[in-house]
Amino acid sequence: MATQPVIEFRSVTKRFGTLTANDRVSLSLDRGEVLALLGENGAGKTTLMNILFGHYRADEGDVLVDGRALEPGSTRAAIDAGVGMVHQHFTLADNLTVLDNITLGTESLWSLRQDKKRARSKLDAMIEDYGLYVDPDAFVSELSVGERQRVEILKALYRDARILILDEPTAVLTPQEAEQLFSTLESLRRDGLAVIFISHKLHEILAVSDRVSVLRRGALVATVETRTANREDLAELMVGEAVVRPKLKPLEAGPPVLEMDKVSTRNGALQEVDLTVRAHEIVGIAGVAGNGQSALADVLSGLEKDFSGQVLLNAQPFSAGNPRNVVASGVGRIPEDRHSRGMVGDMEIWENLISEDVRTAAMSKSGFLINRSAAIDRTRRQIEEFDVRCEGPNAPTKLLSGGNMQKLILARALSRNPSFILANQPVRGLDEGAIAFVQGRLLAARARGAAILLVSEDLDELMSLSDRIAVIYQGRLSEARPGSERTIAELGLMMAGQSDRGEAA
């Protein structure tokens, strides 16, 4: 018996100006099925879902729900048809309660009273059924990111959604929260919901989906059964060519570049940290977020000066608390949050790119004017060299995708040939192609002789890229030892606070 698909996209095309975001995409989805939508950043995944949810209108083609065409461009119609969407950026109001956030728009605007009692009992039942635990009376501002996502899912379920779209749901979650999400998805699937799971993380897709549809540059390139798929094939379908993540080649480490001796911050975020990073060497810092990584990065990027202990850079005293001197003394910085710390979104690309060099002779005229033509020239060259996809040096930086913004930060950090590079979560949120690019550049810098400190929460990344790995836990840093001497399981235990048992083994 052929069953009616819950959702069907028929040759959907969407253009933004000259860019074709979706090119004749056809997809279908059945009850109780989890479909993964895979693609690099900018491949058109979110655009396609925004068409389904009525945020955008397709230029051509139809979307059918239960065999009936959905009214285009109407969020209301999509909700009424049973579509629920969990956006990548949550649409919640921090200063309102969970209950208010969930019930908004579920009652007639002109009724004289909110029926909170009925809402609460319906919500309580859903929280129990799906294990989406959250306090209905809490203010959203008090919730963790994982809890906020549960509120978003509850919001969709509260509207009796039968089709749930999750846009990059794990991008903001800790590994434990992600596991919890996957088990929730499993129980939703059992209840007959259809789920569309947008991601560019291959291992997640292989873990949770029934089928995978791959988008590349707006077009659907393949739909495969997850059982028959493997990581390499999917990566190739997504990028369009075989992707090889760069590998570490053994190199003889040179003289020490960065030396930290008993460094403690006054607020206790770092406690007696000893660390040496040599030339031709990448030292990885593993740890669960919030264990002192930010404090370490702040010290080394010159933002924090309130610490005791000694820091030497190339055997010279470190200009603590003075970012300009830190950069001038040979530190390249890749900050954790590219939007808030890395770039000024409202400024143009060239302005961001030369922001660390404004005072150098090459970028200035008569000592106080910016040498605009030299700056633009350099920006052109680096856009080319680092393959930044953008309209040109004068484009506003906020229009860049995450990967392109990160390439720009990399270009800025590497342009001075720094002797020490602080790479804080350099590939978080990037797609496969961009990850390979960023990692390749870091390895090239290592080959050139730079010392690199790589902070990451991804143990696979650390294992494949680091000469030595140390674990940070509650502000204390373990001894950095070669990755081959420890297993991922051991590192995981150390990240959870178990002390280093390396010597005993």
């Binding site: 649409t91 921090d94 309102l96 019930t103 908004l104 605007l109 002109w110 909110q114």
Partner: protein
């Protein structure tokens, strides 16, 4: 010092406080509704002037008192609509638009007044709202005169507080208004028109502001003077912050300010001989600033306040 305590025990002081607080309640609640929806309305000073002139003029031209209140509210809503078109639909700066509305609305009020009464030297008078003594209750000491022997518009002001609270916090439309001031994208994602919600809120809020202005010419005084709003609109803007956008706290803040105002007039009379009267004039404002420093630093203000919403923009 004992003089001040004596003042606190007079019925006249409390009656004056409640009279002074009435226009502040209308204005503050009006501003509060606008800001809860995410729109700062600095047109308040001008909109109160419009209300004061329009309500009074309606009665002066032979209309009824309640008709005048209604007319003032409608005029206020028209200026609210103008504000909404400029900064909700066109997304212009709310600060600049609001100050523009204030300048435009006050000047227009004075202009119309002069057009209709070109030769009046002493401001003509109307018969304003009279006090209504509530039988029984009005005979209570102090409280009776303060709360139960006031004009109908004052009763309306006091009644507006719970009504605005109920609508904002207990009805679906109130939730949509508050959510528009916190995260308009969330409202849009539920298929509710953010621009319509904000426009409606600004219009209703402006209507209340205009009634506040009308109170001054129709229930407190009986004539319209130039400059008679005298910064009360700005005080309302400050009171909203003082109140952390809560109607109940807005009432408390307005009472505090009105009490200080009533107090300073009396203190001038009793202590004016040795302290310059300007000191007492300044007192309510100094106290307001101090209160703001203590309270307003910790408040959670609507997160989308001042942020224009544009539909379909890529986020």
């Amino acid at each position: 010092m004992s003089d001040l305590f004596d003042i606190l025990l007079t019925a006249g002081f409390w009656a004056a406080t409640i009279r002074i607080v009435s226009p502040l309640i209308f204005g503050t609640l009006g501003e509060l509704i606008c800001e809860r929806a995410g729109v700062l309305n600095l047109g308040i000073e001008g909109i109160m002037t419009v209300g004061a002139m329009a309500g009074w003029m309606w009665v002066y031209q032979g209309g009824g008192l309640w008709g005048g209140v209604l007319f003032a509210a409608c005029m206020g809503m028209i200026f609210g609509l103008l504000h909404a078109i400029l900064c909700v639909h066109l997304g212009l700066s709310q600060h600049v638009t609001g100050i523009g509305i204030t300048l435009f609305a006050s000047s227009l009020s004075y202009f119309v007044y002069r057009m209709l009464l070109p030769s009046a030297t002493t401001p003509p008078k109307i018969v304003p709202f009279q006090s209504i003594a509530i039988p029984g209750l009005s005979d209570l000491p102090i409280v009776g005169a303060a709360l139960f022997n006031q004009s109908a518009l004052t009763y309306l002001a006091l009644l507006t507080v719970p009504i605005v609270w109920y609508v904002l916090f207990r009805t679906p439309v109130g939730l949509a208004v508050r959510m528009s001031g916190e995260n308009p994208v969330a409202v849009e994602a539920q298929g509710i028109n953010v621009l319509a919600i904000r426009t409606g809120a600004v219009m209703v809020g402006s209507g209340l502001m205009a009634i506040g202005g009308a109170f001054i010419t129709m229930s407190w005084f009986d004539a319209f003077y130039f400059g008679m709003i005298n910064g009360r609109g700005w005080i309302c803007v400050a009171l909203v912050i003082f109140a952390s956008w809560q109607p109940r706290k807005a009432l408390i803040g307005a009472l505090l300010f009105a009490g200080l105002e009533a107090m300073q007039v009396r203190a001038q009379q009793s202590a004016g001989a040795f302290i310059p009267y300007q000191f007492f004039l300044m007192l309510p404002y100094v106290m307001s600033i101090l209160a703001m420093i203590v309270i307003a630093r910790k408040t959670k203000y609507p997160q989308a306040l001042l942020v224009p919403f544009r539909r379909g923009e890529r986020v």
